[in-house]
Amino acid sequence: MTHEDAAATLDPALEAELQARFDRMIAAEERIEPRDWMPEGYRRTLVRQIAQHAHSEIIGMQPEGNWITRAPSLRRKAILLAKVQDEAGHGLYLYAAAETLGVDREDLLDLLHTGRQKYSSIFNYPTLTWADMGAIGWLVDGAAIMNQVPLCRCSYGPYGRAMVRICKEESFHQRQGFEILHTLSHGTPEQKAMAQDAVDRFWWPSLMMFGPPDADSPHSAQSMAWGIKRFGNDELRQRFVDMIAPQAQVLGLTLPDPDLRWDEESGHWRFGAIDWSELDRVIRGDGPCNAQRMERRRTAHEEGAWVRESAMAYAAKHAAPSAEAQPAEVAA
């Protein structure tokens, strides 16, 4: 029986009691676990968010995967391979976390492949030079960490626990991105120019990763109330700028914002206006790589269908008869 079936048949008095218990747990900062009753909206919000997060990890392998065969040293090739592997692993943890909410990975992938679920728009930008590996690590993973560290305290247990491990790896990814850019910015003039160009291209899209301003973010308030989200988009974006601006100075690179300045009074870096029409455009599908990213993902899935089917056929052929006879719940 799915959660929806359960909700549909619940006695209203019982439902009110369960809702009150859920509200008390949220208020007490207790973790909601898969077997706990939860409001349908909470479940739906989590499925959407975790799936989108998983899809982002999977699609996010592509811009970096683009440079595995071309990394400029064997050490960099090894690091990049390991990093892209981490991202695939993150995707798998997250799909597994979503599955605790009663959905299947196959169905979520289908929603991705048919465009009914989104992934982070940042991955619709191309990786044109090696320095983009640095900019993605430093800025894109840096922004992801800002968003994700608070998710370690997410009210939904499986998601929060998945995020603990993911954040440790992301933090390493960010440092390796910084190190790539540091090496380039202290290298030849051509390498430094390559690093600056990458930062110029990835800066504004990275700021957009935090989502629209709070006032235009329809789901934020409810997610905060449910303990899924802990901070608003604008606050996280500001923290990101405050972290990155001094690091850019260490790198000897500039951020492409003439309005960026340190504000003594507030203790924050002030930055210029974001062109939100660009985010809207890229989310709608009109980014440089939307079509390419989706095509790669669909092609991999479709061209791999015969492999997955054969693995299933083999498993069925070789399954021990006693295992087949067992009810799924017992086997699990």
Partner: protein, 279 residues
Amino acid sequence: MTAPTSPTTTTAGSLDVAGVSRSAAPARPTAAEAPLVSYLLGLGDDALVLAQRLGAWVTRAPQIEEDIALGNIALDLLGQARTLLTYAGEVEGTGRDEDALAFLRDERDFRNVWLVEIPNGDFAVTMARQLLFSAYQCELYAGLLASADATLAGLAAKAVKEVRYHRDHATQWVLRLGDGTPEAHVRMQAALERTWPYVDELFDHDDAAAALPGVAVDPASLRPAWSAYVEDVVGRATLAVPQPTWRSRGGRVGLHSEHLGHLLPEMQHLHRAHPGATW
């Protein structure tokens, strides 16, 4: 099989590479290269070229678990290549490091066998290639555990564990594709036909190995155990051992398939575009 001409006696003109005369194809290595350097480059280039091939699968695999697995195998092989190339550079003693050897040598200076150059093809071709190669590496590294060269023996101790996983992974897939659906069976058999002509070369006489008794492993000695393992897998997968009508030869002396000339520029171009730069 005809004994190959020793590369150290080769100048120009005719050359017998594992039984084939190629009058216009002087092989490398040059007279100056120590057998140990040649041997290390052979093993290192095998690992490097296959790592490059497998790395290209990432984001294209049939399922996400396989993106991880193929990336992991690539990473293991890349690690082996780095150890071998670094050591080759040290033994050579002219200051070439792993990157100089990986990125600044040309096609004719690479010593890998042809098997690792085969393009990825479909998943069945990649798994056939991996089974044949990992089974070879398992026997190779098991043999090198007893090498008198401490660096090689140390590498073998680490690598033998890695390549047993690679072989098991490929074995599991060959079984699933061979003994799964009819379509996969046909593809898997075709993949064996595609890759089997490259098997003999793995066990060809290698002058460098022959010149290093106690240090290197005689490739021919690895074949019985290799055949026993691989043919058992092929049989259990309900597939047939192919009877190829041709065979590759010459990778160890720098004579390659045309595929390597496409793989290397992609791998090397960025490094070469910035001479002397640090990355």
